[in-house]
Symmetry: C2
Subunit: 533 residues, 2 copies
């Protein structure tokens, strides 16, 4: 007979069953949460804006995810809603560049995307953590189909121009060797009793077993090349079938080379809560989310509307804007209330009538710089030649990352790589300063050091340097702890008839979830204020 | 200007470029391989069986992946091919059970699969490693669409009935704490200089940096609850948007609890070469591969053919078989050559005329026991309630694993879990001994300890205990090192006019890649023999 479960397990199960049967699954889930099964999320399910706003009107500035969320929910709650958007499409930084699209950056350079049908670059957000349940819920409600985004691929590379003669290392081999060597070192001192002050006698033997398992150590707690380590780091010759099929394990990298290479720096990119499996991307490009929102609330949006002034008094809000297609043609829009999601980089340059505290907050948040470059290649050589299916290679070269597409795996035909993704740092500003053509040229040159196939297979590319985006003038709010302490609450408070929202008004800056949760919080508070009359 | 790449990188790039431009991409790839970029695989691309077999005929026994591969390639090479298959479908252990299917196991119990449209259980293989390039290439050639199989999901559970009061632990939290505590311990002795005999002075400081990064240690190399550790292990309250959105980090688990829980045993399941990201599954079920093969060579297959005798002389091979639908109706089939892929459990009970060495080998390989149980639930509670999207929870309960579907993420509606997957061990035999109904009942009971929602949401289930499969009498060849040394080559050698193939004749037992590579090796050698006359 299978082993009986222990009593405490049974009694908990019985408890849950009882709660479930008598009180329904919501109550059961609540009980589970209180017992520590589920973490508390910033998203509590679809917002309920109960109570009649009695014809109140709201003007929403910006049709990014924060503005779109506000538009969807406020109209649903009975408000008269209008949205002004500077860009000619909805979504904001939620955006996919596809073949035929054009993009004009500040400075006037216009790029035409020459990708083949079905290929795209997500210049802005490109991955969704599993715990961003606000965004996931909107995807579900809007019918946006998701597929896994591959963040960690053990067969992708870690690369440093200063280590291993510039030769890229497979993540699987490097990571195994790092774990192996450090486990061996720790096992050594544990065996000697040098940690007996912090590791009890009872724990010592089990800790040694754990290190052996974790580090792929042999029975003497040594990490060395052989069949066991190959089972984790891979082989020089893989096991096969039939005669002559015996595998050949490879050598291991020495501790000093592992440590001095600094490649371990990139390993955190796979362990962080924000980057852990399972991550997602919408099928067909991140832009599908903005597009799906626009299907619902597109009729509320006035595009190409560049806001120049935001005024308010105790009766309402009046916004002055220019038709970007007909410069000089100024118009105004008025409403009882205003949800302003304009990025602070731009809002700080607009004449807005708010108190000193919010005014100071608006000017206090620097924006991260970021550059992304998409490259189309004639064939998916990363899959065909190197068995890299999705995931990211990290490098110390200015391109920082090469990310392989998380879709259409194992197919023939062309593919688009993310050839460069910088985040702050001098390299971001350097790429931003270049012309689009120069960026592509450089990115292809750098990438060739990791993938020599670039030289033969490259076809075309497109780049977005976020500090040259007319619509955001930067990538995302880059709060310091100090800045947040001083200004964050002032930024989020309702000022008269105006409330701000967006990723910059959240604790999840640069993520779409931040924009959505900020928006839900803002409209929730605004609605309460409206009902108070 | 972006930083210039170092000379060695440039020169290698130039070299590849030169090779690529002058000699084409195959040569470039060869150069890369010789420089250590690519590992040597057991699969060298589509097999080339050059030379005319002059009308030679081959009888293939078994229409699993080994037999199907042989049929496809041998017919392509000009052979007259016939296949005998005991089962009523092609694919062998490559199989998906879907709604409406029935399955009768040894002992006579028949189960009808009651899954809803689109849901399935893969009783046999269910995941494809990225380095199984033989199988991947056949998927490509046969048009089998793949999607990622999620092996590691940081938000799935590690569970022990003997630890943490039976409360499941999130993998992300446990893994972070394990890395944190062990890194702290190692940093402690490194700082004290207690490892100066093996860690040089130059490496010491960098190793400390590495441990700090890897273990999420603070500036004093301490692992403790706070914002930093929460960035890896997750929060008690996630960061949110707007006011009151500050995150709350959770507590950490102490070293002793981590170690004594033994939950670290399951962490290797995510690090092994065979289980590393990126893994795949065919869209719609693993069975899609066998089905796609059958589209190509189905016309060659005689189903329901139970082989009872395999005879050979120097002119050819004669096989006696019974129509399983009409017991007692014996027939024979003859050919010049025979590729026999019948599992050794069954082949060892068949009268086969081969030499003593092969005969001994056929009897020398025990087969692993395995049981899988699929459970259909009314809703995808693991996603809706617990944010578990794909991946596997490991437990010390007899069910061993719960695997969440790697498809249709974030959708409403029903779902099928793998509720139990045993591999050898007493629990395998215990589940095998039960009736199908009893298996389901037990599996639901055990699973409820990890997911209390089972109690309310369970609808129906189906189970396959491989030792009760009439077609394999076990799950897969379970070689010992000793057995392999003595018998493996004897098993794979051509004996007269008979050659064996299958996962059991490979160094990748229990994997489809083993079956394919074994088959390709066998038919390659057979073809040479045929050409020799």
């Amino acid at each position: 007979m299978p082993q009986e479960p222990p009593n405490d397990g049974m009694s908990r199960r019985e408890l849950f069953k009882l709660i479930g049967l008598t009180a329904g699954s919501a109550a059961m889930y609540q009980a589970m949460t209180s017992l520590g099964y589920a973490a508390e999320s910033g998203y509590k399910g679809p917002i309920k804006l109960e109570g009649d706003p009695k014809g109140a009107s709201v003007l929403i500035l910006g049709a990014g995810l924060a503005g779109l969320t506000a538009a969807l929910e406020l109209r649903q709650a009975g408000y008269k809603v209008k949205v002004l958007e500077f860009n000619s499409r909805a979504g904001g930084r939620n955006w996919s560049l596809r073949g035929g699209d054009t993009y004009t950056e500040l400075g006037g350079a216009t790029q035409k995307c020459e990708f083949d049908e079905g290929l795209y670059l997500n210049p802005g957000p490109w991955r969704i953590p599993y715990h961003h349940n606000g965004l996931l819920d909107y995807c579900k409600r809007l019918g946006v189909k998701l597929e896994p985004f591959q963040q960690l691929n053990h067969n992708a590379f870690l690369h440093s121009s200063k280590a291993f003669g510039g030769k890229p290392q497979r993540i699987r081999a490097f990571k195994t060797d790092f774990q192996g060597h450090t486990s061996e070192l720790l096992a050594k001192v544990v065996k000697k009793g040098q940690l007996d002050d912090v590791v009890t006698k009872e724990d010592r033997e089990v800790l040694l077993q754990a290190l052996r398992s974790w580090g792929a150590l042999d029975k003497d707690y040594t990490y060395k090349a052989g069949d066991l380590t190959a089972e984790f780091r891979g082989y020089d010759k893989d096991p096969g079938g039939g005669l002559g099929a015996e595998p050949v394990p490879g050598q291991i990298i020495g501790l000093s080379d592992i440590v001095q290479s600094r490649l371990w720096r990139s390993l955190t990119s796979f362990a962080l809560y924000e980057f852990q499996t399972t991550m997602f991307q919408p099928v067909g490009g991140m832009g599908r989310i903005g597009e799906a929102f626009a299907k619902q609330v597109g009729d509320l949006i006035t595009y190409n509307a560049r806001v120049t002034k935001i005024d308010q008094n105790d009766k309402g809000v009046t916004v002055t804007y220019e038709d970007a297609k007909r410069p000089g043609a100024m118009q105004t829009a008025s409403a009882d209330w205003c949800v302003c999601t304009i990025p602070l980089t731009i809002l700080s340059q607009i004449d807005i009538k708010v108190g000193a505290a919010m005014q100071a907050a608006i000017g206090a948040v620097p924006y991260a710089s970021s550059v992304k470059v998409g490259l189309q290649f004639k064939r998916r050589f990363w899959e065909e030649d190197e068995l890299i299916f999705g995931g990211i290679s990290y490098t110390d070269l200015p391109i920082r990352q090469i990310s392989y597409p998380s879709t259409d795996y194992n197919t023939t035909g062309k593919g688009v790589l993310l050839g460069c993704y910088t985040w702050d740092g001098a390299n971001s500003y350097e790429f931003t300063a270049m012309s689009p053509e120069e960026r592509i040229k450089r990115v292809v040159e750098y990438g060739t050091q990791i993938h020599p196939q670039y030289a033969r297979e490259f076809e075309n590319g497109i780049s977005v340097a976020w500090h040259r985006s007319p619509f955001t003038l930067g990538c995302a709010g880059d709060w310091t702890d100090e800045g947040r302490k001083q200004h964050y609450d002032n930024l989020c408070q309702i000022d008269g008839r105006i409330v701000l929202a967006g990723e910059h008004a959240s604790y999840i800056p640069a993520w779409q979830e931040g924009a959505i949760l900020s928006s839900l919080d803002a409209i929730g508070r605004l609605h309460k204020r409206v009902l108070q009359g």
